[in-house]
């Protein structure tokens, strides 16, 4: 503790808005990332509710089919690139320096720039709705050649993705450098908290895969405007080439979203089980092998394009392999809880919700891994249900767990435990009402991305829409809980979680000082 001094008096820090525009502090930047992602989460959520409102009943009642397609497209892009990814970068900014005993991120100015690229990208994405012809109505996967037919909203989306990609790559370089170079003495790689490990692996995934996406959308751009024919068979190209390039990015992207979530859960479960994480080395190896495998299975998203059956067999076997390290992780979490002394504060509740629902998402992943079954379910609501179990119950629940867990450290105040628990139970209930029934719709054959449907799909769609509005309102309630904690939360005790063992809890006061560790703690003993 003696390593910590309050140095804020000898800095001339700008105040007001300029503090945030010019800041190079990892905590300010982390907060901005988190608030930005929450704002995008609400915007993307409203779009999801437009979709669910239209699908409440058969027939076209609320929006035109074209606008519906723009909603599905922007909902996907905003949630993936605007909400979930920045949320975990926000966690990385706040937590990594504190968890490895560093004063700040390695490149503070680049850190500022990586954040401030996000708002223009968000404005481009949302502003595309106002372009002549509206946003691209092509799905977040942006398959060629449908992208060729779109208006200038499509170009705005492409530039938004370029900017988001730059931001992600700079953020990743920063994270990798910080973790590899700025650990406190004695913090060896295999002593790092698992959250730090998962971010190190994720950052490599980002650096390797974002340029591939940038390439895919740039080729789309030149096909649209500069006469190239990358994806046009008439000019010697191939529309399926786009899908290969996109999913070479897209599958690692799934793990870019999931792996930091694994990291948060691997911190929360041991803390509230009051027991060390079971199988730490195997967790690290399992995460790394998931990351490597994620580059080798991309074409399992495109079994119906007519690839050779030999290729389908390869992708089926490789995809099944992912079940093994994923299983190891789930088993390790359960073994961590086993014979622990568990308590169920809100972060632990969300971690348990994650564990239960993410495992269900893993099970449906196993179903989809079997190619003949996948072909039946491809582009149906079964896939929609599957990836929302992984993205919402997986990544989003983990993010909630992380916010409730670290909020006392960040702001020095407690959230309202009773309201937090209500938020959890509402989210859990409405999530399942929304998405569990979509498995049935998919099995019955309802295609994705349709604004209107045949009558045999009417029942479950109505149930799903009711659940979606409940889920949306529950998240407005989360905003209330946050604001209440910030404005009038009780002062947090020095150590709100008695089971926490990582540096931010053991070596820093609550709330954490503006500069974390000006002198690194010595952990060599």
């Amino acid at each position: 503790m003696e390593a910590v001094h309050d140095h804020s008096h000898d800095h001339h820090v700008p105040t007001g808005i300029m503090r945030y525009v010019t800041t190079t502090n990892h905590k300010d930047i982390g907060s901005m990332y988190l608030w930005f992602s929450f704002a995008m989460f609400l915007v993307g959520g409203v779009m999801a509710l437009v979709i669910r409102a239209e699908l409440f009943q058969p027939g076209l009642q609320v929006v035109e089919p074209e606008f519906f397609n723009q909603m599905t497209t922007l909902h996907g892009l905003i949630m993936v690139f605007g909400a979930i990814m920045p949320a975990f970068v926000g966690f990385a900014n706040w937590q990594i320096p504190m968890m490895i005993g560093a004063p700040d991120m390695a490149f503070p100015r680049m850190n500022n720039w990586s954040f401030w690229l996000l708002p223009p990208a968000g404005i481009l994405l949302m502003g595309s709705l106002l372009a002549p012809g509206g946003a691209g109505g092509v799905g977040w996967t942006m398959y060629a050649p449908l992208t060729i037919q779109q208006g200038m909203g499509m170009d705005m989306m492409i530039f938004a993705i370029h900017i988001l990609g730059m931001s992600s790559i700079m953020g990743s370089i920063n994270i990798i450098t910080t973790i590899l170079n700025m650990r406190a003495p004695g913090m060896t790689m295999m002593k790092m908290p698992l959250f730090v490990w998962t971010w190190l692996i994720t950052a490599y995934l980002l650096v390797a895969s974002m340029p591939v996406l940038a390439g895919a959308v740039t080729m789309t751009l030149t096909d649209r405007h500069f006469g190239t024919h990358f994806f046009n068979a008439a000019g010697g190209g191939d529309p399926v080439l786009y899908q290969h390039i996109f999913w070479f990015f897209g599958h690692p992207e799934v793990y870019i979203i999931a792996i930091p979530a694994f990291g948060v859960i691997s911190e929360v479960i041991p803390t509230f089980s009051r027991k060390p994480l079971f199988g730490y080395p195997s967790m690290v190896y399992a995460t790394a092998s998931i990351a490597i495998l994620s580059f080798l299975v991309w074409a399992h998203h495109m079994y119906t394009v007519g690839m050779p059956v030999e290729a389908q067999l390869y992708y089926m076997f490789a995809t099944m392999l992912i079940a093994i390290p994923t299983g190891v992780k789930v088993f390790n979490w359960v073994a961590t809880m086993w014979k622990g002394s568990m308590s169920f504060e809100t972060p632990m509740l969300f971690a348990q919700g994650f564990l239960f629902l993410f495992t269900i998402g893993g099970f449906t992943g196993l179903v989809l891994a079997v190619t003949p079954i996948d072909i039946q379910l491809h582009d149906t609501y079964y896939v929609v249900a599957h990836f929302h179990y992984v993205m919402v119950a997986g990544a989003l629940f983990a993010a909630f767990a992380g916010v409730y867990y670290w909020l006392p450290k960040w702001i020095g105040k407690m959230y309202d435990e009773r309201l937090g628990k209500i938020h959890f139970w509402l989210s859990l209930t409405f999530f399942n009402i929304t998405f569990f029934v979509q498995h049935f719709l998919g099995l019955a054959g309802m295609p994705r991305r349709i604004p209107d449907y045949a009558l045999q799909f009417a029942d479950w769609n109505m149930v799903s829409s009711i659940g979606a509005f409940g889920f949306g309102l529950s998240q407005v309630f989360f905003l209330y809980i946050l604001l209440k904690a910030i404005r009038s939360g009780e002062k947090a005790p020095e150590q709100p979680w008695d089971g926490a063992t990582t540096l931010e809890w053991t070596h820093l006061p609550t709330p954490a000082p503006y500069h974390s560790f000006e002198t690194p703690p010595d952990l060599r003993k």
Partner: protein
């Protein structure tokens, strides 16, 4: 107060009853009428049982520890955090389960992808937004377009049982014959799929892919486009009617006779009223999705026909854009290959005389001349 609330709630529920009455609360796959489809359902059941087994073990352990190993019941934490034996066991057991799954999956995948030795071949071409079919052996060609009336979609008209799953021209195939479907596309990627026949194949512009099925039961099977293909993606269904061999031959002969004899006289001078009336049908089947009722369009992507430059301008320009599509706006498809001379003459008459009032028409014979230019 309370009773009025429950009355209102009842009213809301009553309002939804029509939808609920037709609902089916499906929980599983559409029953399949192909043997391979049944095998796919069987392997899905197998995987589901494996999942049930794993769930009992994993969630059992999870909920047991949640109930028993909690601080509130006074459980003291152990401190163990590794056990090499158990880690090896829970790595090896999934490997064994996956290998057990991989064998039947591989065999079934190879069977589903075998389109050799088929009895007949039909080419299915995706268009924005309809399917074109060509029976390659007989040379029969036709288009298959959504037949659900617009007032069921947009308005309050009662929805028929096959809402959104009805077409003007069905694909007819004989029972017990292996049918090979070649898929391709005229514009963007579509996907041809009929769940009851357990087939799904993308239709990719510039490439031809194939898939095969053998229906064992006579009946009508309905499917949809499964790859986002633009605005009307949800409105291009597929209907396959499986009939007896005799009925198939009868249908084929009738269809060939119908397509051989043009339904219009290529040399006749048609009157304005007749063309306008026919043109309204053509417009409603083909143009209305984008250009909207009354030709108001949805600018800028879908320009207005009412008062628009093209429909009020020169006849040559109007005919050209319908026959060949637009160079500037890729959303405007070339209708020359899809519509007959008569249909084009009719829709031009409708656009120029009903939606606009330029008063001129063009005869089918002039269109066939324009095609050969």
């Amino acid at each position: 107060m309370k009773s009025s609330f429950s009355l209102r709630a009842l009213g809301i529920i009553m309002a939804f009853l029509p939808a609920m009455a037709t609902a089916e609360w499906n929980l599983n796959f559409t029953p399949s009428v192909t043997l391979l489809g049944e095998e796919i359902h069987a392997i899905h059941n197998l995987v589901m049982w494996i999942i049930v087994g794993i769930s009992i073990v994993v969630f059992g352990a999870m909920f047991w520890s949640i109930l028993k190993h909690r601080k509130s019941v006074g459980h003291k934490a152990s401190n163990f955090h590794e056990n090499t034996t158990i880690e090896i066991i829970w790595t090896v057991i999934p490997v064994v389960i996956l290998i057990a799954m991989a064998f039947p999956a591989t065999r079934l995948l190879l069977a589903t992808r075998d389109s050799s030795a088929s009895d007949m071949t039909i080419k299915a071409t995706g268009y924005q937004w309809r399917w074109g079919y060509e029976y390659l052996d007989e040379g029969l060609k036709f288009y298959s377009t959504l037949a659900t009336p617009r007032d069921q979609i947009d308005g309050g008209a009662e929805k028929e049982k096959t809402y959104l799953l009805e077409v003007d021209n069905k694909v007819v195939v004989p029972v017990g014959k292996k049918v090979r479907i070649l898929t391709t596309s005229n514009d963007v990627i579509h996907a041809w799929s009929v769940p009851g026949l357990a087939v799904k194949q993308d239709a990719i512009p510039g490439f031809i892919r194939d898939i095969a099925f053998k229906a064992e039961t006579i009946g009508t099977y309905r499917g949809q486009c499964y790859e986002l293909c633009g605005k009307e993606h949800g409105f291009m269904p597929i209907v396959v009617e499986v009939v007896s061999e005799e009925d198939y031959q009868t249908w084929m002969q009738a269809k060939l006779a119908e397509s051989g004899a043009p339904s219009f006289d290529p040399d006749k001078e048609y009157a304005v009223a007749e063309l306008v009336a026919a043109g309204e049908q053509v417009y409603n089947a083909n143009c209305i999705a984008c250009h909207q009722e009354g030709g108001v369009g949805m600018p800028p992507t879908f320009p207005a026909i009412k008062g628009g430059k093209i429909a009020t301008g020169s006849m040559e320009g109007h005919l050209d854009i319908i026959l060949n599509g637009s160079d500037k706006n890729p959303m405007m498809a070339a209708w020359g290959p899809i519509l007959s001379d008569y249909d084009i003459a009719a829709v031009i008459a409708y656009q120029r005389n009903e939606i606009n009032s330029s008063g001129d028409i063009i005869q089918p014979s002039e269109i066939s001349a324009a095609r050969t230019d």
